[in-house]
Structure formats: structure tokens, C-alpha cells
């Protein structure tokens, strides 16, 4: 990563849930080709950050630019078309759609049928398990399979920036391992930029280039992932060390 090119920049972003002030002036930068981890405890504003970026929530103040263009206040379905895919918290699979239909809906903005089919097959290559479950309803799959489907669904548009919210939540250690392998693979092979929110801070810092530590809606610390992982306060608070 010789030359850092900012892809996404948040500047003093404030977001509210009704009267709850969830993000209190968050500023952060994600450079092209990076994996950036957002870590922090419950209620720190990690999920809200992703939701604000993808347009699920509107910031009340502050600016957000993506590829030099302002994206704050733009509806989710338009932000997504600029190349940002969001794998939301809790996976949010379409339960009554089959695995294949979930993928096809993920490619809603793609009109070239051959391209959709190609990406479906790519998804099956990444996650062979999904191929076996092709016609099964999304809601009938296990949590790990749903997580795979959620990621595969987000990849249907070949995003330039992938927002991942807690991909390891509720998964067995084996699944977590393979999901993280895939994130790294996506980043290396396709150059997909990743903004990763994780409770499992040590795993996240293990694959990230840089990280931001959030606390009650504010950025407490930022820097290289390795430095953050060595920071004493972070080790105590998030890596489970005494």
C-alpha cells in the first residue's frame, strides 16, 4: 500500500435514533484497497456508522464523501448503486426467497442476465455450501449458511467497498475462520475495500490494515491495526486481557 487514496471519508458525522445521540461527530477515512476494522463495545456506534454510510440512516450533521462525491442524505438504494454493499447486522436474509433468489435480488441493479448468472456461479465457488442449498428457502438455513449467503448476496454487484457488520456473530469458530479467510481473499484477489465491524476484536485486528476504536459514539483511537492491537487500553477493554 504505497500510495493511499481515500475512498470514503466521514467528517464530524452525527446520527440519532430519535432522541438518542448515537454518533457524536465521527470522522474516519477508508483508503482504497484497505481492510479497516471498527471495534468497540456495545452501543459504541459501530453498527450505526455502517448504517449511516450505506444510507439506512441519515446523518443529522457532518459530511460523508465517497470517491469524492457527497453521499450524506442519499437514500440507500442510490448509495448502493455507487458501489457500496452493506452486509447488515443479523444478516437479514430474505427468508421466503430461495438461496438463488436471494442472490438474484442482490443483483437487482445488474440487468445483464449472463453477468448475473456468472456472479451466482462465482458465489457458489466462494461458498460451495450455497450451491448445495440453491433451491432451499433462505430462512431454513443455519446461521453460518445465512452469513455466507448474506456475503455472497452483497458480492453480486461486485462492490468496490464492502461494509460488513459482525460477520462472526453467532457462528462456530470453524465458520468464523472461513468467513475471515474469504474476506482476506476478496481484499487481495479482487481489491475489494472492506470496512469491518466486529465484536471479535482480535480476529478483526488480525486481518485489518488499520482500525478505529469507537466508544459511546466517538472515535477514541485510530491507527495501524498492529499498533491498536498492542495498545494497552485496547487490550484490556476489547481483547480480554487483564
Amino acid at each position: 500500500m504505497s500510495e493511499l487514496k481515500p475512498m470514503l471519508e466521514l467528517n464530524g458525522v452525527h446520527t440519532y435514533y430519535d432522541h438518542i445521540h448515537a454518533l457524536k461527530g465521527v470522522s474516519m477515512t477508508v483508503n482504497e484497497g484497505e481492510i479497516v476494522a471498527l471495534i468497540g463495545g456495545n452501543g459504541a456506534g459501530k453498527t450505526t456508522s455502517l448504517r449511516t454510510i450505506s444510507g439506512m440512516m441519515k446523518p443529522r450533521r457532518g459530511t460523508m464523501t465517497y470517491q469524492g462525491q457527497n453521499i450524506s442524505g442519499i437514500p440507500a438504494h442510490q448509495i448502493m448503486q455507487q458501489g457500496i454493499s452493506h452486509v447488515p447486522e443479523g444478516r437479514r436474509i430474505f427468508k421466503d426467497l430461495s438461496v438463488r433468489e436471494n442472490l438474484e435480488v442482490g443483483a437487482y441493479t445488474v440487468t445483464d442476465r449472463a453477468l448475473i448468472e456468472k456472479r451466482v456461479q462465482e458465489g457458489f465457488e466462494f461458498f460451495p455450501r450455497l450451491k448445495e442449498r440453491e433451491t432451499q428457502l433462505g430462512g431454513t438455513m443455519s446461521g453460518g449458511e445465512q452469513q455466507m449467503l448474506a456475503i455472497a448476496r452483497a458480492l453480486m454487484v461486485n462492490p468496490r467497498l464492502l461494509l460488513l457488520d459482525e460477520p462472526s456473530m453467532g457462528l462456530s469458530p470453524l465458520f468464523v475462520e472461513s468467513i475471515f479467510d474469504i474476506i482476506v481473499k476478496l481484499n487481495r484477489e479482487r481489491g475489494t475495500t472492506v470496512l469491518l465491524v466486529e465484536q471479535n476484536a482480535s480476529m478483526a485486528l488480525g486481518i485489518a490494515h488499520r482500525a478505529y476504536v469507537l466508544q459511546t459514539g466517538e472515535v477514541k483511537l485510530s491507527g495501524n491495526a498492529a499498533d491498536i492491537a498492542n495498545d494497552e487500553s485496547v487490550r484490556k477493554a476489547y481483547l480480554g486481557e487483564e
Binding site: M56, H77, M80, Q81, S85, H86, F94, Y108, T109, G143
Partner: protein, 337 residues
């Protein structure tokens, strides 16, 4: 009447119930599809449906003296009714429901009742200006004839029906065919097309659909368009079957079709069809209970005549709400961790 004549009679009652049930089913689809995307009972749907019936009446009236194939006239009536009812439904959503999208659920519900009342009177005034209240369909010649009156002109279907003692009018057969084609087309749109998948995605999770690049407002409009078009079709079929409609005709079939949607499981498309057919048959059976009473010699049954038909639908509604609120094919939402 003895039991030997009763059986073919009952068969005809059930077949008649199914014919009626197809009309209810198509109306019910309009309720259930809108409910699917907005969790709103579109009480104005009964008037969207009556609008279709009125448009159908106007088309047949205007084309009355015109030399034209009767089926072509029907096709024009159906297309006109679909277009106008569909557009009306889209307009209703845009003007009355969308501004209330963030409001508590009761608010759009009451608005829907208001829209329903407004439309009733608008329809009455429009026809009233022309000095009409009850609108009697002038169907193309032959539609009211018995299906397959002469053996020589009969297709295999007609001969089969006659062979098993089923007695239908031509318009009933047309009605069933139109309903079946509508269901097939709807099934294709919802399950096979890109738009259909997007509508289902919006119905299941509007926010996540947005993350897929789907503009949920557009899909909601599309749903109202499809639901309204189905309302238009069912209006023409209803007018054809019963012969006379007026601006206030929507209430009864509307509430029965709504019950059908609940019976099948509101939000479920196959459920609406199942519910419609079931209620059609129940309604017809109740209508002839007094005849059964005469046969069986039960004075209690003899009292229950056609005027009890509506009770059937409401009884079903009450029972389903008590014992299986999710309906026959509806699902309760189980969250998976």
C-alpha cells in the same frame, strides 16, 4: 326431491360456489398483495373493484350496438378496467397512503376507510350525472346462454361437464378461464420476473431491499398497480356474473374477499385463492341449506335460506381469528438466531 336428485344438485351448487369463489379469489389477491408490502388493509380496494365493474359496464354499454365479436368486447372491457382500476390504486397509494408511511398503523387504516367512502360517492355522482344508479350489464349475445346447449357445437370440455351433470352458463365458463389466466400471469410475474422478486423482497424486509438497490416506493407502486388491475378484472367478472352493480356494490364482495384473504393467510397469494374458493363454496352451500332441510325433513335447516349467506363469511372470519389467526397458508414469523 330425493337423494338421487340431490347429489347432482349439490355438485352444481359446489361448482357454482367455485365460480363465485374465483371472483372472490381475484378480489382477495388485491387485499393480500397490498397487505404483503405495507401491512395495510386497503379498504379502498372494494371501490377499486367497483370502479372496474363500472368501467366494464360502460364499455359494454358503448359497444352495445357495435358489430364486434363478443369476446373482443370482453377483452376491451377487461383491459380498460385493469388500466383504470390499476391507475386509480396507484394514485390512492401516492396521495393517501405514502404521506402517512411513518405514521402508526391505525392512521392509514382509517384513511383507507375514508378513501373507500369518497370513491363510493364519486362513482355514484359520475353515474348519477347520466341519470343512472343501478348499472345493468348488456352482455354480448350468447354469454348468458347455457354452456354447450347443443351437443354438436360442444368441445370435449362441454361434453364432459354435461356428462357429469354440471350445468353452467357460458359466462361462468368464461369467468373461470379469465380468472385462471389472471392467476397464471400473476404467478409468473411474482415468481419469475425481476420485478416480482423485488416486490417479494420489499414485502419481506423493506430496509434490506433498499440495500440491494431496490427502490421500495417504486415496488409499492407496482404492487398497487398489479392489485388494482386484479381489482379491475374481478369487477368486470362480478358485473358479468351478477348483471347489476352500483356504486355501493363493493362492500359485500369486498368484505367477503377480505375474509378470504384472512382465511388463506393474509399476505399469502395461494392463500387468497384457496380462501376465495372456500368462501364461494360455503356461501353457496348456505344458500341452499333450506333445500337440504326439505330433503332431510329438518325444519331447522329449512329456515336457513339465502339471506344467511353473509353470515357464513363472517362466521368463518371470527372462527379463523380465534383458532388460527395466521390463516390456512399463512406463516407465523419465527425469528432465527
Amino acid at each position: 326431491m330425493d337423494l338421487a336428485t340431490l347429489l347432482p344438485f349439490l355438485v352444481n351448487v359446489i361448482v357454482g360456489g367455485l365460480v363465485l369463489g374465483f371472483v372472490y379469489a381475484i378480489i382477495a389477491l388485491g387485499y393480500t398483495m397490498v397487505y404483503g408490502v405495507l401491512q395495510l388493509i386497503n379498504f379502498a380496494h372494494s371501490e377499486v373493484f367497483v370502479t372496474g365493474a363500472v368501467v366494464g359496464f360502460e364499455v359494454f354499454r358503448v359497444l352495445k350496438g357495435v358489430e364486434m365479436n363478443g369476446y373482443l368486447k370482453l377483452l376491451i372491457a377487461l383491459v380498460a378496467a385493469m388500466t383504470i382500476s390499476g391507475a386509480l390504486n396507484v394514485l390512492i397509494e401516492r396521495l393517501a397512503y405514502r404521506p402517512l408511511r411513518g405514521a402508526p398503523k391505525l392512521v392509514p387504516l382509517i384513511t383507507a376507510i375514508g378513501v373507500s367512502l369518497i370513491l363510493q360517492d364519486v362513482l355514484r355522482v359520475i353515474e348519477g350525472f347520466q341519470g343512472r344508479f343501478d348499472l345493468t350489464y348488456t352482455l354480448p349475445g350468447g354469454f348468458a346462454n347455457k354452456f354447450c346447449a347443443a351437443e354438436s357445437t360442444c368441445a370435449p370440455l362441454g361434453n364432459f361437464l354435461r356428462g357429469v351433470g354440471i350445468d353452467m352458463q357460458l359466462k361462468d365458463v368464461i369467468l373461470v378461464i379469465v380468472a385462471l389466466i389472471s392467476l397464471a400471469v400473476l404467478n409468473y410475474i411474482v415468481n419469475r420476473t425481476r420485478m416480482g422478486k423485488a416486490i417479494r423482497a420489499v414485502a419481506q424486509d423493506r430496509v434490506t431491499a433498499g440495500l440491494m438497490g431496490i427502490d421500495s416506493d417504486r415496488m409499492i407502486s407496482a404492487t398497487f398497480l398489479i392489485g388494482g388491475a386484479l381489482g379491475g378484472i374481478s369487477g368486470v367478472l362480478f358485473g358479468m356474473k351478477f348483471g347489476t352493480v352500483n356504486a355501493y356494490s363493493g362492500f359485500d364482495p369486498g368484505i367477503i374477499a377480505f375474509t378470504a384473504a384472512v382465511l388463506g393467510g393474509i399476505g399469502s397469494i395461494p392463500g387468497a385463492v384457496l380462501g376465495g374458493l372456500t368462501l364461494g363454496v360455503i356461501q353457496n352451500l348456505i344458500g341452499v341449506t333450506n333445500i337440504l332441510g326439505m330433503v332431510v325433513g329438518s325444519a331447522n335447516l329449512e329456515v336457513i335460506d339465502a339471506s344467511y349467506q353473509r353470515i357464513g363469511a363472517f362466521l368463518v372470519l371470527v372462527l379463523i381469528l380465534i383458532f388460527k389467526p395466521t390463516g390456512l397458508l399463512g406463516k407465523s414469523n419465527v425469528e432465527k438466531v
